[in-house]
Symmetry: C2
Subunit: 230 residues, 2 copies
């Protein structure tokens, strides 16, 4: 894929490769947990679900080529990828919108283990303020700028309803937050230099549906066009 | 990307294109809501964040080429994509694991609007059984097979802790479920013919961190290697 991110200046790592690095890291962590110290590109590629040529190409952007006949050093490759992504740093994160999803995110162990430290939970609902969720008090949304400044927050997570998401994004941008992870089902307008990643919980379901449809008999295709026939 | 899904027999749509179809659909829905009846490939491509050549190539797999000087008919293209994905069908879905994430998924409006009908919520915790979440009672996990059979469930969503995910996946497979959306931070082993899509809530954050790191001065790279210098 040739898509590039405006913030990715200098280094020439394709966006598709960037998107796979966390997946490689997760697979390597599993291997390390199993006590595996080295692995072949074929083994790692299989664990991740890409072909080994693509894996080797991806890792070559990190200057990592493995050792012929030995493969990759799991511990060192983990470090290389973590450093490349930036996970060797500490990333203070705030979450805005402490409904079920926000609470799920606040309690998600996978953030902390990867260097993402949730430093504050914000909600506009006064009745929630002071409530403690996963060890953090729910704070007023109006305090976003102060909280972001105090903690040096670079990444903001939006877990509000769709109608509130743009206002939250605007406030985050005003507060100097330059990376936004948006769980709300809405498209956000942000200025140049601010990165937004969107998580649409239904998109993975739609991809499953595409394949599921192809397991069904033609008759199941309600409009009868027979899209599912080979 | 050349990655193909084992269940995608017959039609020759690359996996990367399949992954973009729901994104195009979302953009087209936004355009339709705005009263737009036709749009150029450039406009749609910009709304989605791909280049227009890639967009035209993707849509050509659907046999949709637009009209020179006019562009694409928004309503018809929406129908073509929805039919291709299978959203013109009704997809009964069950969710296992009714913690904060499971509750967030149960109340997520974006599923129903795309043909995904959550027909049952299951949890192994007896103390939750009978509790009503988003209009559905929480039912015993042990009833999974009966419930899946009664509703003709094809897609199962796992929102349990990591340690429980494989057991849930095994039970889903035994119950004849052939598509699994896994929110648990664990790698699932499933037989051939069963599709698993994994949602790792931290991966999008890691992609943001990669770009965020490149906005920081070199000094912020704690190991001092200066990866962020252009």
């Amino acid at each position: 894929m040739s898509a590039r991110n405006s913030a990715d200046h200098g280094r020439d790592i394709p966006e598709a490769t960037v998107a796979r690095l966390p997946v490689y890291l997760r697979a390597l962590t599993t291997l390390a947990d199993q006590g595996t110290s080295t692995c072949s590109s074929e083994h790692l590629a299989a664990a991740v679900g890409v072909n080994s040529a693509k894996l080797r190409k991806d890792l070559s952007y990190l200057g990592s080529y493995g050792t012929r006949g030995v493969g990759y050093d799991v511990a060192y490759l983990r470090y290389q990828i973590a450093r490349e992504i930036g996970l060797t740093q500490d990333w203070p994160v705030i979450v805005v919108g402490i409904g079920n999803l926000g609470q799920a995110l606040a309690s998600f162990s996978g953030f902390r283990s990867r260097g993402f430290r949730i430093v504050a939970l914000l909600d506009a609902d006064e009745s929630r303020h002071g409530e403690v969720v996963s060890g953090l008090p729910v704070e007023p949304f109006d305090d976003l700028a102060r909280i972001a400044r105090e903690h040096g927050v670079a990444i903001g997570v939006i877990a509000t309803p769709a109608h509130a998401a743009q206002d939250v994004a605007d406030a985050m941008v005003d507060a100097g937050i330059t990376s936004i992870l948006n769980f709300a089902p809405s498209v956000l307008q942000v200025p140049e230099g601010v990165d937004v990643r969107k998580v649409d919980l239904s998109i993975e379901l739609q991809i499953l549906a595409y394949h599921e449809q192809r397991k069904l008999p033609v008759a199941a295709d309600v409009d009868g066009v027979g899209e599912v026939s080979a």
